[in-house]
């Protein structure tokens, strides 16, 4: 019997944006998207958190080619704009046959083609289609098509739950099951490698310059040395971190993930489901595990 602890996950407001990346085929759209989302696991040191939201068929994209929808989250508008521009320039524009479009609307603009057009060195062409401006930048395989602006929207970062178990094999299996289920949802991403994080963090450190450090309460090798939250049986903890557009999206993703673990009868060696929080100090969104899965 897996116990769901009476605790809550603590999430915070972020700035977000959705991009649509298209390419000659799905495979190249995914390659461009994966490159864009590389080194974007945590705002602690990456500047943003990004991930693939969903694959898109040709009839779901602006230019009628297969594509991928990507969500990007950051702590400030300035950082979000910087990350989107740099990553689009270095990871999408460089990827063969790629094109990039905004996937959401909003008041606040993030320069995309508007800044990248200068790469065209005067040979760039602007086109207004249906009241949207696109830039055609000449590149070596033809043209890189890029919408003038992406748009900022509100987002939520840091939704999470922890899987506590007796060994890595079973905990990893449980986490993978949850990730597979959550990945089918829209409006959420799991920014960490494979959707799973092993180095859960706490705010601050004994070292002055470090803003985050290991969450010692959940480290099995520190049992007996610190005030641990792990009992004798638990030898492994993995965390699933969820970023989403709305509170309901994050809530649904947590529910779907936790229920998948609870309902899979073949799973063994899983003892508890818990969540990371900072005593309510970090963010305004508190996701109580018991009410999430109710």
């Amino acid at each position: 019997m897996i116990k769901v602890e009476d605790t809550f996950a603590e999430a915070f407001s972020m700035k977000a944006s959705r991009l649509i990346i298209t390419a000659y085929n799905q495979s190249w759209a995914i390659k461009a998207a994966e490159s864009f989302c590389g080194f974007a696991t945590s705002v602690i040191a990456c500047g943003c958190e990004a991930g693939i939201e969903s694959n898109l068929t040709a009839d779901q994209t602006p230019d009628g080619r297969p594509g991928v929808s990507v969500l990007v989250f950051s702590m400030s508008s300035k950082e979000l704009a910087k990350q989107i521009l740099n990553r689009t320039g270095q990871c999408i524009m460089t990827s063969p046959t790629s094109a990039v479009f905004s996937g959401n609307s909003g008041e606040e603009k993030i320069p995309l083609g508007n800044a990248l057009r200068y790469f065209g060195d005067g040979f760039q062409i602007s086109k207004m289609i249906d009241e949207k401006r696109y830039w055609r930048i000449p590149v070596m395989d033809g043209e890189f098509i890029c919408e003038d602006f992406a748009y900022q929207m509100k987002g939520i970062g840091g939704g999470n739950f922890l899987i506590l178990g007796e060994d890595i094999a079973n905990v990893l299996k449980a986490a993978e099951l949850a990730v597979n289920k959550i990945n089918k949802l829209k409006s959420v991403i799991l920014p960490f490698p494979g959707g799973i994080v092993r180095s859960g963090s706490k705010v601050g450190s004994k070292y002055k310059n470090l803003i985050a450090s290991t969450n010692f309460e959940y480290c099995p090798t520190l049992k007996g040395m610190v005030k641990s939250k792990l009992d004798k049986k638990i030898a492994c903890v993995l965390e699933i971190v969820i970023d989403g557009i709305k509170k309901e999206d994050v809530e649904l993703a947590m529910k779907v993930g936790i229920l998948e673990i609870l309902r899979t009868k073949s799973l063994t060696g899983i003892n508890r489901i818990s969540a990371g929080n900072y005593g309510g100090k970090l963010g305004p969104y508190l996701f109580k595990l018991k009410s999430v899965i109710a």
């Binding site: 230019d63 009628g64 094109a99 062409i125 602007s126 086109k127 207004m128 043209e143 098509i145």
Partner: protein, 270 residues
Amino acid sequence: MKRILLQPKIKIQSELDLRNLSNIDFGKKNSINSIKILYQNREKKLKDLFDLKFEDIKKKECELVFRGLNKYCNYLGWKWKKNILRINSNVGSFLGAKMEGGKIFVNGSAENHVGSEMKNGTIFIKFNVSDFVGASLPGGKGGMSGGTIIIYGEAKDYLGLNMRRGIIYVNSDAGNFSCNNMVAGTVILKKNVGESLGLGMKRGTIFLNRKSYSNKCFKESGGLSDSFFGLLYNYFLKKHGIKFFDKDVKLKRFCIDSKIDEVGELFIKE
């Protein structure tokens, strides 16, 4: 929403200036009846020349619907901002000139200067148009700077003269001097085009549904990116129900001679 149906009480045989109808307030019956229009250079009230019928409709936009107009009825849709203008007959010159938004449907043909200097909105013409579609107005410097003009029939000369932005689609033939002095924008010509296409063109894009076109101004220059083609294809199909080219068409790109130092381009079928 409201719909107003207008039909002339008399046979219009001389110039009629209808530009004041663009300031119509659909909610105010009395003020509509007394809108001033110019007929034979004399000021008349709208109700003097037209029978008006007011209706409530279940649509998102108000509609102004005309019947029985002819080539003397000019300046309809002048600076048109929002709502729908529907003309179930032929119409005169300056239709939708300086238009700023909304939609104009003409179930007939139109004369000169359709959409000249328009900024936004969409004009649909079921049959033919005369000269200066989307061009600059007499004495004006720049042509249309936004919006879309869709002509299902033919267009005569000087189509897109001085055009700055926007899209013109001609489903049939276009005349001489099309796209001359074009600054930017997109023109799609589905059939034949007359002489001197794109003279003095600075930037902008012309699509020509022909396999060859001889013009010394243009030099061969690669192909068309499938993403840009897809954007236009989807725009025409989803927004206007028009198949602007076959999806698998191969297009050859020509650009303005590099000696002229401009980036205007012409696409023709391979």
